[in-house]
């Protein structure tokens, strides 16, 4: 293990609350070992700030294993920083060089209002799932698991989509701050599985409507989302969602008439 020490200049976005204007504040990170994770580097800065009687930098994090989706910040213009397929918490300082200057900002999107410093409000994602990102099956009403076979390829594809951690990097990376990669991944996962079929059309209509209502932009095929996604979710799911939506819209009118609503 080669141990190297780095000295870095950090420009960190500080904002007291949603209505505050916010500004960059500059900190010197000294003697940072290359084995530290990015968040551990911020921990060190924060502990010093506290001991100096100042307010530490607020940022969301929990698992620090790249799976809970809590962490996320834009580092030098890139969501989750320079390393591909890596969340901020899994990013290590050996990705940087001595003397580097880093600009650290929150996700910026109208769908994700800033809560404080680097923390944003991603509850819009929860509401998109609440609109229909589930299979309506009550506890206890399930039948024997092996009664419905699922082809291995379909199951694998469903898992590819289901790997989304809901971090929001896709939105942060998109020039339009669109949430289609997130939304399409859940729609795609459930559309691949037999259990998702009964609600398939309703689901896509409702989830897309909610996504639009949350103020996310629309997709104009920049594909920045896929590049930023720490789990490598493919933009192919977006195409699939659009096809699902067209099919669902085509039948929507008849269904609504039958249901009398």
């Amino acid at each position: 293990m080669s141990d190297q020490l780095l000295n870095l200049t950090l420009h960190v976005w500080r904002q007291d609350g949603p209505t505050d204007n916010g500004h960059f504040e500059t900190y010197q990170a000294k003697d940072i070992t290359t084995h530290m994770s990015f968040l551990e580097m911020l921990d060190v800065i924060n502990e010093d700030l506290i001991e100096d009687g100042k307010t530490p930098i607020a940022f969301d994090h929990d698992c620090r294993e790249g799976i809970c989706g809590a962490c996320g910040m834009v580092i030098n213009g890139r969501p989750h920083g320079p390393q591909r397929l890596t969340t901020t918490c899994q990013l290590h300082m050996r990705q940087f060089s001595d003397g580097d200057e880093l600009w650290i900002e929150p996700w910026r999107a109208s769908g994700f209002p800033i809560v404080r410093d680097l923390c944003v409000d991603r509850s819009a994602f929860d509401r998109i799932i609440q609109a229909g990102g589930y299979v309506s099956v009550n506890t206890g009403a399930a039948r024997e698991a092996n009664e419905i076979p699922v082809g291995k390829l379909d199951a694998d594809l469903a898992m590819d989509a289901a790997a989304c951690i809901g971090c929001g990097a896709c939105v942060a990376a998109c020039p339009n701050a669109s949430a289609v990669l997130f939304t399409s991944a859940k729609i795609g996962q459930l559309a691949m599985l037999p259990h998702g079929q009964p609600e398939r059309q309703d689901r896509v209509r409702k989830m897309v409507a909610q996504m639009d209502a949350e103020g996310f932009g629309s997709c104009t095929n920049h594909e920045e989302c896929e590049a930023a996604c720490p789990k490598g979710i493919s933009v192919n799911w977006i195409g699939k969602m659009n096809r699902e939506l067209i099919a669902a819209m085509a039948t929507a009118k008849d269904e609504v008439e039958v249901r009398g609503k």
Binding site: I50, G53, R64, H92, Q130, Y134, K152, M159, A163
Partner: protein, 643 residues
């Protein structure tokens, strides 16, 4: 305090069915009249809140993360057990029950463990119906693997993200109830106190983590599914936010805390790289199937490159000490032996606080035998993760591993209904002590969390409500409520205004963790525990004098959140050491150096075949012990031997 397990009698395979048949119910149209509080949105809490919502109760669910989907359950990798016997290899509910009792070293309740094994099959059905994308075989049926040394293949998995997929299944079920209006979700909200009125749990005091506002929530029952307390060690595989506050507050209000010293240490984690380290990362145990564990035989070799140490100077200590099992000895044996070789000065890797704490896990022979492609196929993801964290390539140089705290078997004492010693207060998932005895088998925590949440709690809560009927209303200005709020206000105030503020909460947490890890970790001694019991109160006093929390209580203040959690860890850590000292035997993960036979844990069934349930006395240094005797009708206690 009386510990009544309330387990049904009769043939064990009929107990749960019989129990359900004779319990009280709440009629569907009456359920709207009941308010329930669920703390936690992990597998246990998420599943419970969703299922109770479906039944028609009015549920409030709380979590401290910004979304219920981020509960720590999401990090589980390996899999979930179920006695489906899809592999036709002789599995059955009995065998899963038997393995769990034996794995727990005969320190769990037979009735509960049977029910867990029985419900395991329903969990898989439920998850599949929700759209959880479990691994499948080419014929489209569910795939299984064998896990953690089990002799049957009963573990279901979704790549290396089983916890994530099961949690998203529960989260989606919960989302459906939120949309339906039966569950109200409170993310970024932390429970800081339990409200007890007339001897029953009637509500909670919470802090809104964005505004700092304190609120009260009154209910007919409170269900704690707040996860484990492994972060008492500071460094653990748990998420940073995992904490004991919810269960500790309940304990202080009268809920007995059972077997706090039963904590599980996982042998294959990435070692600590420096003093700044904030958490440890688990790597799947499956690595030990192909990796060989060794350290240098000579102390002077510890800082050499491993490639430069010739075979004769390598000490394959597990293979030498345990020829029959070799590198596949159980978790606790593997962990303890790593500790011993490092204590002997043979540890490798960087020095942290003057010590090298790491052993090699070497894939060279496996790569030679099977080829790099096979190894990449089996462990590619893990190797990548290892390289991302350490900067070293395990295809070229051996991995370094070291044990880390992973799971806590102890927790709030609960009866067969998962009710604590406070009526109306229930606990599920890792927060309770119930099913794993002194040691948990791999892939059994997910199973237990979901069994509790989907199938046990929705039913036993109904039984409780059907028994107590309608509780009298409790007003926000009732003295019992006001007292709870005042207690929280006073605590927040005290944390913000220490007399001589010097250090951030982490400073104290790291020190506390160090004491507990060294003295109440993998190998415990009477002297060590007695020292810890002396040291912790001193450090706790220093904490209250010198903790520094900047900012105010009326805003998002992550330092304040952490300080409150550390304060509770101090008291729980004390109880762990007291419990470990009191239990003068070795069982499961609790290894007392004084109690061994030929280097193996020596259980003392004559004196310790019981659950230790501790009652809060007002003084963290003098809790009161109660014992629940354990009886074994179906599996006779035996001694394990891995030599």
């Amino acid at each position: 305090m009386e510990l009544r397990s309330n387990e049904p009698s009769g043939p064990i395979e009929q107990r749960w069915t019989e129990h359900k048949a004779h319990s009280k119910l709440v009629a569907p149209n009456n359920r709207r009249a009941y308010n329930l509080i669920v703390i936690g949105s992990g597998l246990a809490g998420g599943a419970a809140a969703a299922s109770l919502g479906e039944l028609g109760y009015r549920v409030k669910c709380f979590c401290f993360q910004d979304s219920p989907r981020r509960a720590h359950s999401i990090a589980a990798q390996g899999g979930i057990n179920a006695a489906k016997n899809y592999k036709n290899d002789g599995d059955s509910v009995f065998r899963l029950f038997y393995d769990t009792i034996k794995g727990g070293d005969f320190r769990s309740r037979e009735s509960n463990t049977w029910r867990l094994a029985e419900l395991s099959v329903n969990i898989i059905d439920q998850a599949v119906a929700q759209g959880v994308p479990f691994a499948r075989e080419y014929g489209g049926l569910l795939a299984n693997r064998s896990f953690g040394g089990a002799q049957v293949s009963r573990t279901f998995y979704a790549r290396g993200q089983t916890g994530q997929q099961l949690l998203l299944g529960a989260y989606q079920a919960l989302s459906r109830q939120i949309e339906a209006g039966s569950v109200t979700m409170f993310p970024r909200t932390e429970m800081l106190e339990l409200i007890v009125h007339d001897g029953a749990a009637r509500g909670i005091v919470t802090r809104d983590l964005i505004t700092g506002k304190l609120d009260t929530h009154i209910a007919d029952a409170v269900i704690l599914c707040s996860g484990g307390y492994g972060n008492v060690f500071y460094l653990s595989t748990n998420a940073k936010g995992s904490n004991c506050t919810a269960i500790w507050r309940a304990h202080r209000q009268g809920a007995a805390f059972a077997n706090p010293c039963y904590t599980q240490i996982h042998p294959t984690c990435i070692p600590q790289a420096g003093t700044y380290q904030s958490k440890l990362t688990l790597m799947s145990e499956s690595l030990r199937n192909d990796g060989r564990v060794w350290v240098p035989r000579k102390k002077e070799d510890v800082d050499k490159r491993p490639e430069d140490i010739p075979a004769k100077d390598r000490y394959y200590y597990l293979e030498e000490r345990y020829p029959a099992f070799g590198n596949l000895v159980p978790r606790d044996v593997a962990s303890r032996n790593a500790l011993y070789v490092c204590n002997d000065g043979l540890g490798v890797g960087p020095e942290v606080d003057g010590q090298r704490r790491g052993v090699y896990l070497d894939f060279k022979d496996a790569i030679q035998r099977l080829g790099e492609d096979v190894i990449r196929d089996r462990y590619g993801n893990l190797f990548e993760m290892y390289e991302r964290i350490t900067g070293e390539n395990p295809y070229k140089t051996p991995m370094r591993i070291y044990p880390a705290t992973h799971y806590t078997m102890g927790g709030l004492w609960v009866d067969y209904n998962l009710q604590t010693t406070i009526p109306g207060l229930f606990a599920g998932g890792e927060a309770n002590f119930s099913d794993h005895g002194a040691n948990r088998l791999g892939a059994s925590a997910l199973m237990q969390g979901l069994a509790d949440g989907y199938f046990v709690l929705p039913f036993t809560i109904g039984n409780y409500l059907g028994t107590v009927r309608k509780l009298p209303p409790l007003a926000d200005d009732h003295p019992d409520v006001k007292r709870a709020v005042a207690a929280v206000e006073a605590r927040v105030d005290k944390l913000l205004n220490a007399p001589d503020p010097k250090h951030a909460p982490e400073y104290f947490h790291r020190k506390l963790g160090g004491i507990i890890w060294h003295k109440c970790g993998m190998a415990r001694t009477r002297e060590g525990l007695q020292e810890a019991i002396e040291e912790i109160p001193k450090l706790r006093e220093q904490f209250w004098r010198e903790v520094k929390v900047t900012g105010s209580g009326e805003e998002l203040n992550q330092t304040l959140e952490r300080a409150g959690r550390v304060a509770d860890f101090f008291e729980l850590g004390q109880l762990m050491c007291i419990d470990a000292l009191n239990r003068e035997e070795s069982c499961g993960c609790h290894f007392r150096e004084e109690y061994q036979r030929d280097g193996e844990a020596a259980r003392d069934d004559e004196h310790f075949q019981h659950v230790s349930a501790w009652e809060w006395s007002g003084d963290p240094e003098a809790p009161t012990l109660h014992k629940e005797p354990l009886e074994f009708e179906y599996v006779k206690p035996s001694t394990r031997n891995y030599k």
